[in-house]
Symmetry: D2
Subunit: 395 residues, 4 copies
Amino acid sequence: MSVRNGRQFLSIPGPTTVPDEVLAAMHRPAVDIRKGELVNVTARLKDDLRMISKSNGTPFIYIANGHGAWEAALSNVLSRNEKVLVLESGSFAAGWGQSGGTIGLDVEVLPGNWRKAVDPDAVEARLKADKSGDIKAVLVVQVDTASSVFNDIPAIRRAIDNAGHDALLMVDTIASLGTMDYRMDEWGVDVTVAACQKGLMMSPGVSFTIANKKAMARHQNANLRTAYWDWTSRQGAEHYQNYAGTPPVHMLFGLQKAFEIIREEGLNQIFTRHQLLAGATRAAVEKWSEQGEFAFNITEPKERANSVTTVLVSNEENLGPIHDYCSEKCGVVVGVGIAALSGKALRIAHMGHINAPMLLGTLSSIEMSLKALKIPHGTGGTQAAIEYLAANVPQ
Amino acid sequence: MSVRNGRQFLSIPGPTTVPDEVLAAMHRPAVDIRKGELVNVTARLKDDLRMISKSNGTPFIYIANGHGAWEAALSNVLSRNEKVLVLESGSFAAGWGQSGGTIGLDVEVLPGNWRKAVDPDAVEARLKADKSGDIKAVLVVQVDTASSVFNDIPAIRRAIDNAGHDALLMVDTIASLGTMDYRMDEWGVDVTVAACQKGLMMSPGVSFTIANKKAMARHQNANLRTAYWDWTSRQGAEHYQNYAGTPPVHMLFGLQKAFEIIREEGLNQIFTRHQLLAGATRAAVEKWSEQGEFAFNITEPKERANSVTTVLVSNEENLGPIHDYCSEKCGVVVGVGIAALSGKALRIAHMGHINAPMLLGTLSSIEMSLKALKIPHGTGGTQAAIEYLAANVPQ
Amino acid sequence: MSVRNGRQFLSIPGPTTVPDEVLAAMHRPAVDIRKGELVNVTARLKDDLRMISKSNGTPFIYIANGHGAWEAALSNVLSRNEKVLVLESGSFAAGWGQSGGTIGLDVEVLPGNWRKAVDPDAVEARLKADKSGDIKAVLVVQVDTASSVFNDIPAIRRAIDNAGHDALLMVDTIASLGTMDYRMDEWGVDVTVAACQKGLMMSPGVSFTIANKKAMARHQNANLRTAYWDWTSRQGAEHYQNYAGTPPVHMLFGLQKAFEIIREEGLNQIFTRHQLLAGATRAAVEKWSEQGEFAFNITEPKERANSVTTVLVSNEENLGPIHDYCSEKCGVVVGVGIAALSGKALRIAHMGHINAPMLLGTLSSIEMSLKALKIPHGTGGTQAAIEYLAANVPQ
Amino acid sequence: MSVRNGRQFLSIPGPTTVPDEVLAAMHRPAVDIRKGELVNVTARLKDDLRMISKSNGTPFIYIANGHGAWEAALSNVLSRNEKVLVLESGSFAAGWGQSGGTIGLDVEVLPGNWRKAVDPDAVEARLKADKSGDIKAVLVVQVDTASSVFNDIPAIRRAIDNAGHDALLMVDTIASLGTMDYRMDEWGVDVTVAACQKGLMMSPGVSFTIANKKAMARHQNANLRTAYWDWTSRQGAEHYQNYAGTPPVHMLFGLQKAFEIIREEGLNQIFTRHQLLAGATRAAVEKWSEQGEFAFNITEPKERANSVTTVLVSNEENLGPIHDYCSEKCGVVVGVGIAALSGKALRIAHMGHINAPMLLGTLSSIEMSLKALKIPHGTGGTQAAIEYLAANVPQ
């Protein structure tokens, strides 16, 4: 017996809920890939990528997930044995660095803390120490979906500038683009990495790099370039060259619709919505945490991401039952802790195609599980979230 | 600015949310209508209708909404100027009666109360007074979606039997079938009327009558029969005769899938789910009503339907803002009062394809609106609903 | 072993192939039925119906197939025992008349010939003989899908006028609307009956009546009106009244898309396309008929419909194998003969969403079957169709 | 004016027509990627890949097009500066080789002829000459979609064996898998490359490598491995490792359905269907070629592929008008010549989800264009195709 049958709620930090309109846009006959409609789709998607990254750089669309885009970004601007500095603040910047290791880069990790954002001062100090300019690129994520931290990209840019260092600033926005402000040009980011399945609300399978002029210049001498990832060949005259082969027809139609939805809502409204829903989630978690069973992974409130909230659980044996109750009894799939937090945390996603009833339905179901399972918690988390939204959503 | 963008929540008492699988089942090429797959679909749908009505009667599938099925039911068993007794308990039995008036029936309404169920004793008394047997049929709804009352069909059957009266018992289950128990044969119902767009979770456009042997016998002499509605011609050998012409191909595929979903969940589980979600809704409304601004339309708790809850609002000018806030700010469409309650009530639907997060998301959004709009209410309605479910959903 | 796997070709004269865009338009979440988008859809559909019928009359949209619309049309303008004159030219006008008989009309059939169009002179003669004006309406189809005849509606109008008769002219355009010219107002048609599943390319389940002022005036006194079909109540202020209850939400979205496709192609282009494809079909059938095994059912070339071609087969035992071969070996469902031509003919549909390769693929498959089954035929039917199109499609 | 409106026919050699059921399978809500249904989908897809390649090897599923899979295959078994021998027979083997050049391989092309299959004797001679065993892998395509040649893989295997050479045999089956027989294990292929968008009938975006034990052994020492393509990390315990990150959820659901369709039809029936449709195409082209305007690119009949036919055109200025006529007037997109044949040929695809009416509709439309444009051709090509099928499709 359950109250689960109805639409399943997916509260995992990616892939996120795909809007019905996006799924519908993918449900159409195949088309010619050499001319006609699809060629225009590619052109528009590049505009969309510039719009959402606030950049006049050059976008590239990969048939690949984010890990593929990591490899694409690195191989296009670096050469064998060059050093990159990875700014740790959870799982994903480190993962990106490891990926670089496999293609022949020298990877140095600036140690961070899973519960904190990257410290710009530490970045500045390390770069100042690199007198010989061995470090060719600095790798950082804007949001880490494992820790749910949010890093201050402009501050990191200033750190690099303060150090007078020439390294490329490469930012992974996979878990943040389309959920919070990002200004590639204004902030001086050289290479942006993104993917479609989080804030962009698309089914996974397409990812992106965007390069500014400095990155395009470095590209000329990079010796790690390969046919599939290569920026230069992807700028060829034939439409298929954009994709180094057959384009992912239906994925492109879906992505185009996702961007239409984004343009219709408007970036500022989208960012506000994410901020409000994140605030509501934090109000609930704050309340639930009163009994000591739960805690925010990110200790500093202003470093918490607007796309996902990682919640540490004192009694690890409670995690399985919470997930099972939400899933089996309510039809809500709550994110699990991963990497260093595997088995130690749950993650509540609040990004992409999500509104108040979806979030509040999710929080309600989690709170149902806590009560039904008699797990200690401050009661009234959902109530606090409702009150937060009622007070903060502009009339 | 809003927190609306995400999947819209439809909390209206019909048409209800259509499951994605049902929509998908309608998305396929047209097929031959004379033989092959579609012929089997019709046969299976008849089995499904017998299953869900717990009947061995003869089902008929109409391309029509419920109002069409009303006309179908009456015209197949009655003759011009015959009398029917309508048991009022809200809007819909009366509407059915008026429909009968237009085709030439003599319609008598047994007056009821919009805030109460039909009184079986009054039925018995009226039938006992009909010494000459003028009343040929008794018309009643199991649930009235306007008042949100639930009528006790077995008790009404007993009232007819106690009066020793021969009238047909005709029951409209449009707003109840697939949400609560219904036993056509065991309860002695002669004609069942149903439609696809509420508990059956299908897009509107198909409705049903089911006739037992007594009804089929009366049918032989009914002079209101017409080519489109006629049960006899619909029993012809050719497949198209089931539909008095071209079958509604895609609607049938959708309906078939809806019944597959129903069979997979199981009737008992479905009824329990509805009972639990209705209980949660009542817990919230009970709480909100503490300040006197809100009240259940149906005063007697055990007469409240499991599919929809009608909530009276003291300050009628609050209704528009609540609906607008839920819709514009949250993406939740809450049902309005209709007929006698137009402009005086809101209706929260909890039927069909709905689970805990969908309901709790809806209640949360309503509560958000009350707080944001500063409408007096007992705070913690959603919290009460969460607690109700946590306590009552079987582990 | 077959060469069937691929998209099935449906060459039956209704329901016809539903465009992918129309199916896609039906694949979306349910919406509110009282206000918002759906209300606009209804208004636009009425405009669409006026556009396609070239009329300023009043359109009504029924949840019903064409047989339902027949009943709707008759019941709204006639009273019990009034006489209607049915102009026979195949199966469907007669069927419409029989439908009228069941609701209490006095039905007279002007005998016709299954292989010819209605003779306007015979109509004029019969109406002149009706000195007392007993005949209240004349019923005719523009195209009969059984015989594949096309009737000359303006000529029939002139016949009525020549007789100085006041009967309503009621035209069933179910198998012609959207495939050939139709001018309700210019031609003086009083009531048009139509349905969605042929030239309108929509999945079956919605049908239409359109009434001019004369018909609306007659409506005032018609005593066969019933709640479900009634034009007056369907003109009520509430949106649901358009449908006498719950609107068929997804059907309306599909129909709206079908009309968008129609408007985009343009009526004149659509009519030309149908004429060309009909011409190609006739070229093939003409060729195949050279051996005497096949013959056009409609003997007079200018009376042949542009939407379907009925082909008589001398050796009836060849029909089953042809249908089976096309279906089992090629994946093409060819229409069967119905009513008087059941077991005596095959029908090739060429209406709605159909282009050159679809038609030529169908003709090719039929010709494959003739050769494989060694059925006598003039060889080169498909070749003749190709040549016809190459010569006649404007450059 | 045209006879185009209807379903567009896509007759390009990839991406091919995606079956409606496959598109429908992709139209569903996102799901959890860490456990549940999707994990089983991955397991089943690996079985499907083994089934269709007739191999017990280890399959890997890439989010990438075929060019990505090329890079995956090479990087997993080779090391920097190792030599590969590319067997030219059109465009694609050479392209694969060039891809290898970008990642650091030493690429030698065994010159071939665009109008002929690879000559096994030449392969044997070259390998015998490689006394030092410098050649580490032999790269060949089973079908080249540019030239439409079909290479004899077992003969090439024998050539390698006859030379007593230890090079890996790596076969690109992108344009052949699922259209003709392929026996990875029996034929001694070490690495198979495949993609989803041709014979597998799926929308492009997923590709594959399958490795036998010898290949897996070589993999251990290959130093070109990278995180994204690496076979070893893709065999990790976590589900996401199969995809080196987020799996392409909806693509996998679509692919699963495509394989269900394949299994239902059965490989032998599929191969026969392709052979028959290829035969019909050749019959038409043979006829059209009688006037000298057209010619098969592949001169030797037994070397012509069953999936696509490349047709050389003497008068190159006729190509544009033919393509335009087919597209604008008929709604048929015919493939263009590419690479060396760009502007010199048209390509008729007959692979994947295609049946007799689709192919014959395409051929008919091409023949319409030849007649309408007065391009010299032997008349009756379509007729010849019809006769070929009627004579050769088994009863």
